[in-house]
């Protein structure tokens, strides 16, 4: 049962990812990215990481796709319906496949047999987040604050300055 679900989700994830990198339409690319990200949330459920699946749907499926859609809408130019790739795309494909050729065998050679997935409870995650990981948690909030203030300052138009 877990196998069937995992294979279906893996096909959706990889298909969505391929859709992002091969489609000629930038809005279709955003929708393919959405499919891929929701399928990744399903993969988290197969791994018994319910909290991460929730966060994935909320942050990626909700916020990040909307922000990317805004970026697409606000920068719509004449060449958008027919976007083109770089001329070096065969070289890029070759380099990517070579990287996969290094990565995949290294995972297979060092594989751990007969592992058992286990559930991480919400309580455990919360306790760990606010004890062991309290300092990184605070730094992450600072990173978000600085990034968003920086984004406002960068995106502000010239007339409003000074």
């Amino acid at each position: 049962m877990a196998w069937i679900v995992f294979i279906a989700l893996a096909v959706l994830t990889i298909g969505g990812g391929l859709g992002v990198v091969v489609t000629r339409n930038v809005v279709h690319a955003a929708l393919a990215l959405l499919v891929s990200l929701i399928a990744v949330a399903g993969v988290y459920l197969v791994l018994f990481a319910e909290f991460l699946a929730l966060v994935q749907v909320l942050i990626y499926g909700g916020a990040i796709i909307i922000v990317l859609m805004f970026a697409i809408m606000l920068t719509r130019s004449a060449d958008y319906p027919r976007i083109t790739d770089n001329k070096q795309w065969p070289l890029a494909a070759l380099a990517s496949l070579a990287f996969l050729g290094v990565l995949a065998p290294s995972f297979i050679i060092d594989r751990v047999e007969n592992t058992q997935s286990q559930n991480a409870s919400f309580e455990g995650i919360g306790e760990s987040l606010f004890t062991t990981w309290a300092v990184p948690f605070e730094i992450a909030s600072l990173v978000l604050l600085v990034a968003l203030i920086g984004a406002i300052i960068i995106a502000r138009s010239d007339e409003e300055e000074g």
Binding site: Y60, N86, Q88, N114, A120, A151
Partner: protein, 106 residues
């Protein structure tokens, strides 16, 4: 039960797809999307390793999941900043094609 190695292979394939997107795409928006794919691949790897770990030891079981939470946080900040940078670029140069943005190219 699905073994750990299958999740790792899924993560490797997704990462490589994102890598190809970053190298071959011209539009800055599509490059940001490909970076999101790569970050998701890393998250799959971390969470798979975390939930397949043995229960005892110095580290708690949830460390991989917590690092994934921080990665999602940083990804959200990154997309917000990327939107601001792309808007600025579009306003100044009227394009988001990264091949045409060569102001700092020697």
């Amino acid at each position: 039960m699905v073994d750990l190695v299958w999740f790792q292979l899924l993560s490797a394939v997704l990462f490589v797809i994102g890598l190809y997107g970053v190298m071959s795409r011209r539009s800055a928006v599509l490059i940001v999307m490909s970076i999101e794919l790569m970050l998701n691949a890393v998250n799959i790897n971390l969470i798979a390793a975390a939930s397949h770990m043995e229960g005892t030891g110095k580290f708690s079981n949830f460390d991989g999941q917590l690092i994934a939470i921080f990665i999602i946080t940083v990804a959200a900040a990154e997309v917000g900043l990327a939107l601001a940078l792309i808007l600025r670029l579009y306003r100044n140069k009227s394009t988001v094609n990264v091949d045409e943005i060569n102001l700092m190219k020697w």
